[in-house]
C-alpha cells in the first residue's frame, strides 16, 4: 500500500493533529487556573479592587480557553479505541488505569467546580467560591499527572509483564508506573512549560494595554505576575528539561542522538547549532557545533562517549531483529531546537521585562512611578525612548506565542523521536492501529476534525482577542458584596437576575 495512505500513517496524522491542537489549550488552562485562583486569593485577602478586576478579566479569557480544552479532550478519551484498537487491546490492562483515574478523579473535579465557579458569583460566599477555583486548578494538575504517567509508560515501560497466552502486556506494579523517574521528570517539565505559556499570555496581553496606557493598575499587577511566572517557570523548565534529557539519554538514546543529528558516536560529543544532513547517506553535509557540550548534557561530563544514530540502529537491529529503528531525523533535530529556542527566547524576553519594569531596585528616584502610572522601561539610568519602548511592548505581545510553540514542538519531538515504537521496545506503532477501520473512514474523520478544529480556532482566537482588547470590566455593587450564604442571601429579591447567565 502507498505509504502516504497507509492506515498507520493516516492514524498517526489524525492523532498528531488532534493532540497537538488539544495541547494548545491544555497549558493555558493549567497555568491560568492557578494564576486566576492566585489573583482571586489576593482579592479575598486584601479586598483591593484591582485584584477582583484582574480575576474577572483573566477568568473570562480562561473560560473561553478551557471550553476548547474540554471539548477537544473528549475525543482523546475515545481515539485510542477508534484508531488504535490493537494498541488498546495490548496495553489496556496498564494504560487504561491512569486514564480511568484521570476521568474519575481529575475530570470530575475540574468540570464540576468550574460550573460552580462560573455561576457561583452570586450563589457562594467568597471564600467557598475561591475554593472552587483552587479545586479546578488541582483538577487540571492531577489530570496532567495521570496522563503523563500513561505517556511515560509508553516512553519507558515499567511495572508490567507480557502475558504470552493472552498476547498482551499486564500490569504488575501500578505504583511504579505512577512514580517512575520518567513520569516525575515529564511532569516537572510539562508543568514548568505550561506555566511559561500562562505567564507569557498574561504578560503579553498586559503589555498590549500598558502600551496604550489603559487599565493601568490592573495590567501592571498582571504584567508583574506574568513576568515573574514566566521567569521562574522558564528557569525551572531549563532545569527540568536538562534532567529529562539525561533520563532520555539512558532510556531512549536514539531519540537524543536524533535530536542532535549525531550520526556516529563520539567521545566529547559536540552540541549542534545548525545541521543539514543526508538521511539516506547517514551523515550531515553542513554542521555548526559547540565541542563537548552534548557529552555534558548527556552525562554531566565533557569527555564522555555518546553513541550515534548509526551505532544505535545496529544495536537495536541486533536486539529487536531486522528493521529501521531511526525516527524522522529532521523532525527530531529541528523540533528539539525549536522547543529550546522558543522556550529560552521567551525566558530571555521575560527576564529583560522584569529588569526594565523594576520598581525600585537600582532605579533612580525620579524614574519610580506611582500605582496608576505605566512603568518607565529603564535600561540603566535612562528610560527607553518612546519608539524603543513601544518595540519592547510589541515584542512582549508576540512573546505570548513563543512558549506555546515550544510546547508543541516539545511534544512533536518526544513522540516522533520515540518512533518506530508506540511503546518503546515493546510494541511498534505499525502494529498498533485498528485493523478493521478503513482508509476511507480515517480520511473522513481526519478531514472533519481538521476542518472543525480550524473553524473553531478562528472563532476562539477572535473571541480571545475581543475580550482581551475590551479589558477588565467595571465592578458593580453586587461584585463587591458577594453573598454570605450558600445558594445566595436573598429571599426578598428572588426575582433578581443571575450574576452570570449563558
Amino acid at each position: 500500500m502507498d505509504l502516504a495512505l497507509a492506515p498507520e500513517t493516516l492514524a498517526r496524522w489524525q492523532f498528531g493533529i488532534t493532540t497537538v491542537y488539544h495541547f494548545l489549550f491544555v497549558p493555558i488552562t493549567i497555568s491560568l487556573a492557578a494564576l486566576v485562583a492566585g489573583l482571586q486569593t489576593a482579592w479575598v485577602r486584601t479586598e483591593k479592587e484591582k485584584y477582583l478586576k484582574a480575576t474577572k478579566f483573566w477568568g473570562k479569557l480562561f473560560l473561553i480557553n478551557i471550553a476548547m480544552g474540554v471539548v477537544t479532550g473528549i475525543l482523546q478519551e475515545f481515539q485510542f479505541g477508534m484508531n488504535w484498537s490493537d494498541y488498546s487491546r495490548f496495553v489496556g490492562d496498564i494504560f487504561g488505569a491512569p486514564l480511568a483515574f484521570e476521568a474519575l478523579i481529575a475530570f470530575f473535579f475540574e468540570s464540576t467546580f468550574i460550573g460552580l465557579w462560573i455561576f457561583g458569583w452570586d450563589k457562594l460566599p467568597k471564600k467557598i467560591h475561591l475554593a472552587c477555583m483552587w479545586m479546578v486548578s488541582i483538577g487540571t494538575i492531577l489530570s496532567a499527572y495521570f496522563i503523563l504517567a500513561a505517556n511515560s509508560w509508553m516512553q519507558h515501560p515499567v511495572g508490567y509483564k507480557i502475558n504470552e497466552e493472552k498476547g498482551r502486556a499486564e500490569l504488575t506494579d501500578f505504583w511504579h508506573v505512577l512514580t517512575q523517574n520518567t513520569a516525575i521528570a515529564q511532569m516537572f517539565h510539562t508543568m514548568t512549560g505550561a506555566f511559561m505559556v500562562g505567564g507569557a499570555f498574561m504578560a503579553g496581553i498586559a503589555a498590549y494595554h500598558l502600551m496604550r496606557k489603559k487599565h493601568i493598575e490592573t495590567m501592571k499587577t498582571s504584567l508583574r505576575l506574568g513576568l515573574v511566572t514566566l521567569a521562574i517557570s522558564g528557569v525551572l523548565s531549563a532545569v527540568s528539561g536538562d534532567h529529562l534529557g539525561k533520563i532520555m539519554f539512558e532510556q531512549q538514546p536514539m531519540k537524543m542522538a536524533a535530536a542532535e543529528a549525531l550520526w556516529d558516536g563520539e567521545e566529547s560529543a559536540p552540541f549542534s547549532i545548525f545541521a543539514y544532513g543526508d538521511v539516506d547517506e547517514g551523515h550531515n553535509k553542513v554542521a555548526i557545533e559547540i565541542p563537548g557540550l552534548l557529552s555534558f548534557l548527556a552525562h554531566n561530563n565533557f569527555d564522555e562517549y555518546v553513541p550515534g544514530i548509526n551505532d544505535l540502529n545496529e544495536q537495536m537491529q541486533e536486539k529487536y531483529g531486522p528493521g529501521d529503528y531511526r525516527p524522522n531525523i529532521p523532525v527530531a533535530y529541528w523540533g528539539f531546537r525549536w522547543m529550546i529556542g522558543f522556550g529560552m527566547a521567551s525566558l530571555g524576553i521575560g527576564l529583560l521585562g522584569l529588569w526594565l519594569t523594576r520598581k525600585k531596585f537600582l532605579l533612580p528616584q525620579h524614574l519610580r512611578v506611582g500605582e496608576d502610572e505605566v512603568p518607565h522601561l529603564v535600561v540603566w539610568k535612562k528610560p527607553l525612548g518612546a519608539k524603543w519602548g513601544k518595540w519592547y511592548w510589541l515584542l512582549l505581545l508576540w512573546t505570548m506565542l513563543f512558549p506555546l510553540i515550544a510546547n508543541s514542538w516539545g511534544w512533536i519531538f518526544t513522540e516522533m523521536g520515540r518512533q518506530p515504537w508506540v511503546v518503546f521496545g515493546v510494541m511498534k506503532t505499525s502494529a498498533a492501529v485498528s485493523p478493521n477501520v478503513s482508509q476511507g473512514e480515517v480520511i473522513a474523520s481526519m478531514s472533519i476534525y481538521t476542518l472543525l478544529y480550524a473553524a473553531l480556532a478562528v472563532i476562539e482566537v477572535k473571541l480571545i482577542a475581543k475580550y482581551a482588547k475590551a479589558g477588565p470590566p467595571e465592578l458593580t455593587e453586587d461584585d463587591l458584596n458577594p453573598p454570605t450564604k450558600i445558594g445566595g442571601n436573598s429571599k426578598d429579591d428572588s426575582d433578581r437576575p443571575m450574576a452570570f447567565s449563558y
Binding site: 473561553i64 471550553a67 474540554v70 471539548v71 477537544t72 473528549i74 475525543l75 478519551e77 475515545f78 485510542f80 479505541g81 477508534m82 484498537s85 488498546s88 487491546r89 489496556g92 490492562d93 494504560f95 487504561g96 488505569a97 486514564l99 480511568a100 483515574f101 476521568a103 474519575l104 478523579i105 475530570f107 470530575f108 464540576t112 467546580f113 468550574i114 460550573g115 460552580l116 457561583g120 450563589k123 457562594l124 502475558n163 499486564e170 500490569l171 501500578f174 485498528s434 485493523p435 478493521n436 477501520v437 474523520s445 472533519i448 472543525l452 473553531l456 472563532i459 473571541l463 475581543k466 445558594g487 445566595g488 428572588s494 426575582d495 433578581r496 437576575p497 443571575m498 447567565s501 449563558y502
Partner: protein, 334 residues
C-alpha cells in the same frame, strides 16, 4: 461475584449516571426548539443546565476510561467497530460544549442564532445515536474470531437499533421536559408540564415495544423484572407530571432510565458484546477483561472516588436549587 462481574455492574452504573444526567441535558437542548418561544426562554432552558452540564458529561468520559481499563477488548472492539456513529457523537459533543460557552459571547443576532441551532442538533443527534449504539450492542453485531467488528456502517442501522435510538431520543426529551418543569418558574414551567405529558405518552409506546422486543429476543427472569420496573416508573412519571408532582416525576423518569439500562445490561450478561456470527466469538466479562491486579486497583479507586464525586456533584445541584424564569435572565450578560 468476581471482580470482572463487579466491573460489569460498575460500567452499567456509569452509563446509568451518564444517561440519567446528560439525558436531561440533551432533552433540555432539544426543548430549546420544541418548547421555548423566544430567545429569553431559550436562555432560561440553557441556564437550567448551565452550571452542571459539563460535570454531567464526565460520566461518559469515565465510562469510556473505565471500559478501557477494565475491559480493554470491549473498548477496542466497540469504538473501532462503531467508528462512524461514534465520530458523529464526538463531533456533536465538541460543538455542543463550545456552543454553550460561546453563544452569549457576542451580541449579534446571527451569531447567537447559529449557536442555538447547534445546541438543538448536537443534543438531538447523540440522544438518538446512543440508543442506536446500545441497541446494536444488545442485539449482537458481526464480530469475528479475533474480536474485530467486520460489519459495516449500514449494518448498524437495523430496525431494532433504530427503534432503540427513537426510545432514547424520546425518553431523554421527556426526562428533559420534566427537569425543566422542576427547575423553572412561570409560564414556561406550565408549558413544560403539558409538553412532558405528551412526550411521556410517545415515550411509553416506543419504550414498551422496544423493551418487549428485547425481552423476547434476549430476556430472562431478571431482565423481565427490570422491564416491569422501567414500565411502572415511566407510567408513574407520566402520572406524577399530570398531577403536578414534578419532583416525583423527575425521580421516576430517572428510575425509568436506570431500570432500562439495567435491563439491557442484564440481557447482555455474561457477554459484553455478543457476536451475531458465532456464539463462540462473543466478547464476555471473562475474555474481554483486564487482569485481576488491574481490576483490584480500579475497584479501590472507584470505591473511594465515586462516593466523593456523588457528594460534590449533589452539592452543586443543591447550590443551584432555585428555580429560574425569564426574570432571572439579564438582558446583556454577554
Amino acid at each position: 461475584m468476581e471482580l470482572h462481574d463487579v466491573w460489569f455492574v460498575l460500567i452499567a452504573v456509569l452509563w446509568t449516571g451518564y444517561f440519567f444526567l446528560e439525558g436531561f441535558d440533551f432533552g433540555v437542548g432539544i426543548l430549546t426548539k420544541l418548547l421555548a418561544r423566544d430567545r429569553t426562554e431559550r436562555r432560561v432552558l440553557i441556564n437550567t443546565i448551565g452550571p452542571v452540564w459539563d460535570g454531567n458529561e464526565v460520566w461518559l468520559l469515565t465510562a469510556g476510561g473505565a471500559t478501557f481499563a477494565a475491559f480493554p477488548e470491549w473498548y477496542a472492539t466497540l469504538f473501532s467497530g462503531f467508528y462512524l456513529p461514534l465520530l458523529f457523537i464526538l463531533i456533536c459533543l465538541i460543538i455542543r460544549g463550545v456552543a454553550f460557552e460561546y453563544r452569549h459571547k457576542r451580541p449579534e443576532d446571527k451569531w447567537q442564532t447559529n449557536w442555538e441551532h447547534a445546541i438543538f442538533w448536537t443534543s438531538l443527534i447523540p440522544a438518538l445515536l446512543w440508543g442506536v449504539a446500545f441497541g446494536n450492542i444488545v442485539r449482537g453485531v458481526k464480530i469475528d474470531q479475533d474480536m474485530e467488528y467486520v460489519g459495516n456502517f449500514w449494518d448498524l442501522l437495523n430496525p431494532y437499533a433504530l427503534l432503540g435510538g427513537l426510545v432514547t431520543l424520546s425518553l431523554f426529551t421527556f426526562h428533559g421536559a420534566v427537569f425543566t418543569a422542576l427547575k423553572t418558574v412561570g409560564d414556561i414551567r406550565e408549558r413544560a408540564r403539558r409538553l412532558a405529558l405528551q412526550l411521556g405518552l410517545v415515550t411509553a409506546v416506543l419504550a414498551l415495544v422496544f423493551l418487549i422486543w428485547t425481552q423476547i429476543d434476549n430476556g430472562d427472569g431478571k431482565s423481565l423484572i427490570a422491564m416491569i420496573v422501567a414500565a411502572l416508573a415511566l407510567v408513574g412519571a407520566i402520572g406524577a407530571i399530570k398531577v403536578g408532582r414534578e419532583g416525583w416525576s423527575f425521580a421516576l423518569s430517572g428510575i425509568t432510565i436506570a431500570a432500562a439500562v439495567a435491563m439491557l445490561f442484564l440481557t447482555l450478561f455474561p457477554n459484553v458484546m455478543p457476536s451475531s456470527l458465532n456464539e463462540e466469538w462473543n466478547l464476555t466479562v471473562t475474555n474481554a477483561s483486564s487482569s485481576p491486579y488491574t481490576l483490584k486497583i480500579m475497584t479501590w479507586c472507584a470505591a473511594v472516588a465515586t462516593p466523593i464525586v456523588l457528594l460534590y456533584q449533589g452539592w452543586t445541584y443543591w447550590v443551584f436549587r432555585k428555580r429560574i424564569g425569564t426574570q432571572h435572565i439579564a438582558a446583556d450578560s454577554h
